[in-house]
Amino acid sequence: MTRREWLLSDYPQSRRQARAGQSYRTWLALKSNRLAMVGLWIVLALVAMAIFAPLIAPYDPLIGGDLRLDRLQPPSWEHLMGTDDLARDIFSRVMHGARLTLMVVALVAVIATPIGLTIGTTAGYLGGWVDVVLMRVTDIFLAFPRLILALAFVSALGPGIENAIIAIALTSWPPYARLARAETLTIRDSDFINAARLQGASRLRILWGHVTPLCLSSVIVRVTLDMAGIILTAAGLGFLGLGAQPPQPEWGAMIAGGRRFIIDYWWVATMPGIAIFVVSLGFNLLGDGLRDVLDPKAVK
């Protein structure tokens, strides 16, 4: 039996085989979606760029060349994306910027997912006034446009990339809480939860041991779908000077830096913009494909 046959078997022998087979089928469906594969490659390229930035980048991202000779040079073989007003190589800065972008996305996901998951499952499982209060809070957070609330948070916390990450995370969790709650409501009254309850499992145990793991996958998918939005929000904060501070090579801040010369030296602002665009397009394409695969209703 080949591995493929083992994976696609209609009669899985173990839970592990069934689960592996399920993931394999999802993968096959995803693989047949050309746009999603383009997205996946872009995301992988981003990760590779972030890991190998010092190796790929031909110049130092922070220290520029000769200010008299190398400032604001147009793209050439020497400087693939040209240089900025401090004679720094934009290509090198964009490569290193991938690290910042990836860090923002990863940290926001790591902070916002548990918040949303905890609030959502707790509200859904306990119900009653706990549910009312938690969902009211969620709705209130949803009542602010995300970027605006993030702006308000950053204005209180002070600019900087850490604060930007906290602000974005604080404004990202409400949709996850909604989703986790909806999932919990469908799980809550199922027989195996009742069985666990009858065996004397505590509420906390049921919540953490049974309900949360089941909600996890759909919340994670949702977070993946949101990643492009996170990148754009972070770039927006950077552009407004509230995210990463100079001289850090954050893409949004780089666009802001090049804004003054846009008419004469278009590449300074254009290149980092292309990077943001390509990466968030990659996440969007991947997310779109994932949604098609995982939500059969959306297929057509």
């Binding site: 746009l35 009211r136 809070v137 709705d139 209130i140 957070f141 009542a143 602010f144 446009p145 995300r146 970027l147 605006i148 609330l149 702006l151 308000a152 948070f153 950053v154 204005s155 209180a156 916390l157 002070g158 492009a228 754009l232 770039a235 927006g236 552009f239 407004l240 000077g241 509230l242 949004g252 666009i255 804004r259 846009i262 008419i263 278009w266 602002a269 254009t270 913009g273 943001i276 665009f277 968030s280 397009l281 996440f283 969007n284 394409l285 779109d288 959306a298 057509k300």
Partner: protein, 356 residues
């Protein structure tokens, strides 16, 4: 044969249904608004590193600092501070802006029409293009048209709006000179009409100042198209998925059996049904434009709420930032409410529903 009588509700029960709905709405809005206030309060009074330092600056003497500390009421218990904050905000007092030295409320009132005008033109573009495009890509699902629209939509979702704005200025203003540059109107036209509504397109048109109207139009068209493109991406995508669901319904088959022409099935039968949830989508993207306007206005030097907010942010002007945030949050809530009401007006199933 009583069961054959149509179940049309009487006038009285319909009225009480509306009353009940209104009370519930008012309560929800009140709680939400209180929550908005609580969040902005927490941001300004609790999360903020040192609100006093913000006001007096770090060179102030200890006595100035202490005086300001007392003046700001920071010695009082937190719930009392919130109560004071609440009273102030509800009476329309957001404090003075550190930047303009004027009351924040007045600043916001002056900036608001610019944002309103920009967002309205944008949503018009987004809806008038997005809905037909979405309908057509549902009809042609999977075909070339649908694929192209899908990719264009994803591009809309993925490009940073401030970057597109800069490129737009570079190409259409600096190079091609098709449109006017940043700002709402050229100085030459600024005093050729009186501001009545604050919406320049409306004011100039009403006063017959067509040259000024043309100038204002060439200023607004680029930022509005950009914002419109973003809402179009969302609106067309949602329209497509609603239409796909409707076109698969049995009543569509009924219409085909009746020999209703295909265009009528699509644009009347199915779209009328899809329009019900679409109203919510349009209202939400209108609200979403407020978000997009912050970055767009910054790029286009558009003197609206967004620019006011970012300018205040640059100098850490807390009163102005929170005032702006609160107003935008309130508009957001209002639009959500409006979409709810419109939903009930459009859907006969909700409109005439009698309480069980």
């Amino acid at each position: 044969m009583a069961e054959f009588a149509p179940k049309v509700g009487g006038r009285g029960s319909a009225l009480s249904f509306w009353l009940w709905k209104a009370v519930k709405l008012v309560l929800t809005v009140a709680v939400t608004f209180l929550g908005l206030l609580l969040i902005t309060f927490l941001i300004s009074h609790v999360m903020s590193v040192d609100p006093v330092l913000r006001v007096v600056g770090d060179r102030a003497s200890q006595s100035t600092y202490d005086a300001m500390y007392l003046q700001m009421g920071l010695d009082k218990p937190i719930w009392q501070q919130f109560w004071i904050y609440l009273q102030k905000v509800l009476s329309g007092d957001f404090g003075n802006s550190f930047l303009t030295k004027k009351p924040v409320m007045g600043d916001i009132a002056r900036a608001f029409p610019a944002t309103l005008e920009l967002a309205t033109v944008a949503i018009l573009i987004g809806t008038l293009v997005g809905v037909p495009v979405g309908v057509w890509s549902a009809v042609k699902a999977g075909k070339a048209f649908d694929q192209i629209v899908r990719v264009l939509g994803l591009v809309g979702y993925s490009a940073p709006i401030f970057w597109l704005g800069l490129l737009g200025l570079l190409v259409f203003y600096a190079n091609l000179q098709w449109v006017a540059g940043p700002g709402r109107i050229d100085i030459a036209y600024e005093y050729s009409f009186t501001s009545v509504t604050g919406l320049m397109l409306l004011d100039t048109a009403m006063q017959g100042e067509w040259a000024a109207f043309g100038n204002a139009f060439s200023h607004i068209i680029l930022p509005a198209s950009l914002l419109g493109y973003f809402s179009m991406a969302y609106i067309s995508r949602m329209t497509r998925s609603f239409m796909l669901a409707e076109l698969a319904q049995e009543y569509v088959t009924t219409a085909r059996v009746k020999g209703v022409p295909e265009w009528r099935i699509i644009w009347v039968h199915a779209l009328k049904n899809a329009a019900v949830p679409l109203v919510t989508v349009v209202a939400l993207s209108y609200a979403g434009l407020l978000e997009g306007s912050v970055l767009t206005e910054t790029v286009f030097a558009w003197p609206g709420l967004g620019l006011y907010l970012t300018n205040s942010l640059q100098v850490a002007d807390m009163n102005a930032v929170l005032g702006g945030t609160l107003v935008i949050g309130a508009i957001f809530v209002g639009l959500n409410l409006l979409s709810d009401l419109l939903y009930s007006l459009l859907d006969p199933r909700v409109r005439r529903r009698v309480r069980k």
